[in-house]
Point group: C2
Chain length 251, copies 2
């Protein structure tokens, strides 16, 4: 595989509630899974408060460094939803009540006989020139500006927005992986494992300790963009674990 395409991404999760512990984030893990599947490498995640300075600084740091930046949170109708303002400022754009979003929301509330309050109109705000990210759950759209994708924090809405968005994104060569389970802890396998990694430089071998409350075991994950590289490394890992078992049997 000579022409692997690398596409990178970062995530910015926004919300006081994530930093106070009140809400346990579910969007990071979901995004990580979804991006890995389609060949986008999630390289960095940041969590910041509902603080305009913090959001502006983080989004500007991330958007110049990665191909895609995904944000979650802070696009609802209440006073503490300031993501649209912060993203606009980060891009030096005016934050406007987007006309298409005003139509979309106005029609939806009219159909339901609900007043289109100032608070609800806040959900139509985005940087001038932004494109919508559809929200099939509750209508109020997310938006894309440049390489930044701004989505809701409520997991059901975040996931629905992402489902619609992903097929439109530039993706790269996916990383294939295979998991080998070792009943032995990292201390038992560490030296031999480093050898296997050295023998298979075209793969990246990760070692993940598991603790069952009593003893450690290890999950070893082999990763490569070229799936044909996985077999040889997997075979050598299997042989490594057998050799440890034999040595232990003979102790």
């Amino acid at each position: 595989m000579t022409n692997a395409t690398i596409v990178t991404a970062a995530m910015l999760a926004i919300g006081d509630e994530l930093l106070s512990g009140r809400t346990k984030d579910k969007n990071i893990g979901h995004l990580a899974d979804a991006l890995t599947m389609i060949g986008i490498d999630l390289r960095e995640v940041r969590i910041v408060a509902d603080d305009e300075e913090a959001i502006v600084e983080a989004v500007n740091a991330l958007r110049v460094r990665y191909d895609h930046v995904f944000t979650s949170g802070g696009i609802g109708p209440t006073h503490d939803d300031i993501t649209a303002d912060a993203i606009s400022r980060a891009f030096g754009l005016e934050c406007i009540h987007d006309p298409k979003a005003m139509d979309l929301l106005g029609q939806m509330y009219a159909r339901r006989g609900i007043e289109f309050t100032e608070a609800r109109k806040r959900m139509a705000r985005m940087p001038a020139g932004a494109e919508h990210i559809a929200n099939p759950v509750s209508t109020a759209p997310g938006f894309r500006i440049g390489n930044v994708y701004v989505m809701a924090g409520v997991p059901q809405v975040f996931q629905a927005m992402l489902d619609g968005l992903l097929p439109s994104l530039a993706t790269g060569t996916p990383i294939h992986s295979r998991t080998v389970r070792s009943p032995y802890g990292e201390g038992d396998i560490g030296v031999a494992l480093a050898e296997v990694q050295k023998n298979h430089p075209e793969t990246s071998i990760g070692s993940y300790p598991k603790f069952d409350g009593n003893s450690f075991s290890t999950e070893i994950v082999i990763r490569a963009r070229d799936a044909s590289r996985l077999d040889a490394a997997e075979a050598e890992l299997a042989a490594m674990i057998e050799a440890i078992a034999r040595a232990r049997g003979g102790e």
Copy 2:
């Protein structure tokens, strides 16, 4: 309350497996809860890969900005555990096999009749001059250098290290909070809620939408370092919700 003490913190979670989605982080939420309880404000979280450059850059950015920096992950015995090297480099210190940690681990393995391999010795590595963070689960210590606390990624070990560490930390005035549940969505309460926030500037009022698959409700959280400020804001929020209920009853 005129003399509130503010103590800030950041977290750096380290590991490819968090960014690939293979492992869903549990340490961020745990740390957030624990710090909130004792009056340390968690202001920012970053997740980076097992990549020395990325770790060095993140830890140096965070340690100058916040009072405390907590890291998780990458201190095990395998080749992909590079946190000790990266933290040493961030501080411009040599990464050594700490003599006290070598004694601790050597004695533990001798007692259990297990060989103290090169891989296991990796777990004694830390920047020269670092102090230990005790590991009551599996002996291999974390470490503190400057204002950076380096802990394991396995949640049981991370939590046990943190339990021992927290009582020794400089803490601030805790933020008290009270939750008011609104059966109405954010769009219904947004305008009135912004008024309540304006009337109670000494509190911070957050609004968290809940979606049950069918309709939205809202959890409103009032926060203040001075607990005596909570009552008045809470009473006004209760009156706000009653007024909305009355208005709806009369629709």
